[in-house]
């Protein structure tokens, strides 16, 4: 396929207007030694049917995998609306007068995310939860006196990895991991108390990587007034539909992954990092933000604001280098939340929690107990060896995400996740095959 419209006559007119004879003359400023002589070893051109045939992907039959990326029901309206070309093929809304659609939708996304997390402001999105965490740590380290970062070991491993990648290049005195209780799976509060000092930015994930709901009241009591800065990571945004808004515990930031809001698992991406904070930190916040304003006639309008924090103005002193973010994913989240409504979000969250308990019950009947004892949201670790995992997978059942590679202290375990996309029958199928 070629997406160029010119026919021979058009090309003739163009060449004449430029004053050249052959199209290749446009490259006269490229030193000849640098020009590719032969064609590249790139396949194609291919017709659409060939592409359809060759690029075909299908999921396994039964999937109980989560661990930071979740399969949830996506109302048909989300795809229908978010695939409108006016949203899909637009650029970042630098020209607000002809981008009000994107701008208002993102403002609505910000409003809903701030509401759900119990925070005052939200940015317009980040790449994913892991980079949102890394950016939060960098933001904290710009606050005078903060030199160290502490993170719970029960924080999603990939988040901790990305955090380490970013902090390896920053001025930081150390990264501490706060252990979890091997019985409950909750973060060890005594260890937390020892690590949380005024020079430390502390981050906790709840529900944590093992699906375990952290004792946030106690965590907040230990941390507030002690840590210089603290944040809550939420990797399953759907939990916000039923658990208390993390903002109510008083953190400086609430961040994480909102892929669950209307974005598919999608083989791992795109994801949707969210970042919410309090007004006092807004000028330190990374990423774009949309503000409400008026046009010349006084009508309500929206535009990007607080741009002076950003790279295109502050360059090397910017709060972040982020430019393109996950705009369309944030739009999908806004449409999803609108389509689901308060009841829908809560009921779906409860379905997930109920499903996890249903499966847990079936497994207990077979003598398989979860690895941790504390209450979970919708996922839990169970013992399972590599062979069993392989056997199930070859039968078209993905029982979950293996965790032992990241946590050698919990050998032979898999994190099993149940959502409203699973059925009772699927749960029975998994239990029977164990």
């Amino acid at each position: 396929m070629s997406y160029i419209s010119h026919n021979g006559e058009d090309l003739g007119r163009i060449l004449a207007a430029i004053g050249i004879e052959r199209p290749d003359e446009v490259f006269s400023t490229i030193p000849p030694a640098l020009l590719c002589g032969a064609g590249l070893a790139v396949e194609g051109p291919k017709d659409e049917e060939s592409l359809r045939r060759e690029l075909d992907f299908r999921p396994s039959r039964v999937v109980f995998a989560g661990g930071g990326i979740y399969r949830h029901h996506i109302p048909a309206a989300v795809d229908a609306l978010a695939s409108r070309q006016e949203f899909v093929t637009a650029y970042t809304p630098y020209q607000p007068e002809i981008s009000q659609g994107t701008l208002q939708a993102i403002f609505e996304y910000q409003s809903m995310m701030a509401g759900l997390t119990g925070m005052e402001v939200s940015n317009a999105s980040m790449y994913d939860g892991a980079t949102a965490l890394a950016e939060a740590a960098l933001m904290a380290l710009r606050i005078k006196g903060i030199r160290r970062v502490a993170v719970t070991r029960a924080m999603q491993p990939s988040y901790r990895s990305v955090l380490r990648t970013y902090l390896a290049h920053a001025e930081v005195d150390g990264i501490v991991e706060i252990p979890f209780d091997p019985v409950t799976g909750q973060t060890d509060l005594d260890a937390l108390e020892k690590s949380a000092g005024p020079d430390t930015a502390f981050f906790i994930q709840s529900p944590n990587y093992f699906g375990v709901i952290e004792p946030m009241e106690q965590v907040a009591r230990v941390v507030s007034g002690r840590a210089g800065f603290w944040g809550v990571a939420v990797t399953e945004a759907l939990s916000l539909g039923v658990l208390k808004a993390p903002g109510e515990y008083g953190p400086d930031v609430v961040l994480g992954e909102a892929q669950s809001f209307g974005n598919p698992a999608g083989a791992g991406g795109p994801l949707l990092g969210f970042f919410c904070t309090r007004k006092e930190h807004v000028r330190r916040m990374p990423g774009r933000v949309v503000g409400l304003t008026k046009d010349r006639e006084g009508s309500q309008a929206f535009c990007l604001t607080l741009s002076t924090r950003e790279q295109h103005i502050r360059r090397e002193k910017a709060t972040s280098n982020i430019c393109t973010n996950q705009g369309l994913c944030a739009l999908r989240a806004a449409i999803y939340l609108s389509a689901m409504g308060p009841e829908g979000l809560k009921r779906t969250a409860l379905q997930c929690a109920a499903g996890a308990r249903f499966l847990m019950g079936l497994l207990k009947e077979k003598g398989i107990a979860p690895v941790f004892s504390a209450p979970v949201f919708h996922e839990f670790a169970i013992p399972m060896d590599e062979d069993k995992l392989k056997e199930l997978k070859s039968a078209g059942i993905v029982p979950g995400v293996p965790v032992s590679r990241q946590y050698p202290e919990i050998p032979g375990s898999v994190l099993v996740t149940v959502t409203e996309m699973n059925t009772q029958e699927e749960c029975r199928c998994l239990a029977t095959n164990m």
Binding site: R283, S307, T308, I313, R314
Partner: protein, 130 residues
Amino acid sequence: MEIPEQLYYTEDHEWGEMVEDGMMRVGITDYAQHELGDIVFVELVEVGTVVAKGDPIGTVESVKAVSEIYAPVDGEVFKVNGALTDTPELVNQDCYGEAWMVVLKVNDPAQVDTLMDARAYQAYVEAEAK
């Protein structure tokens, strides 16, 4: 463009005015506020900050630009203009009056004499405009 006679000026377009005993009031010039456009945010250092000449004592922001404000001389920040936090537009309205930014306790009065006077600043601005 307004360049009051009695003030001292820097190459970074700040003005300084000797107010009382060893105190200098500092702000940005008419030229600077005009170049920046509508000011939307002013952030100033805390009272008590000790600064050397050329150290940042705050930032002013318009929608599309950020500009640092530098200390014209060595000293200690004695007062900051809190009103600018809520009404940054004062900088556009009255940059030599209500929109003063900080008052510095000047360490070395001799340093003040190294700053430009109104005529020199006028010439400096004209040269820069070219």
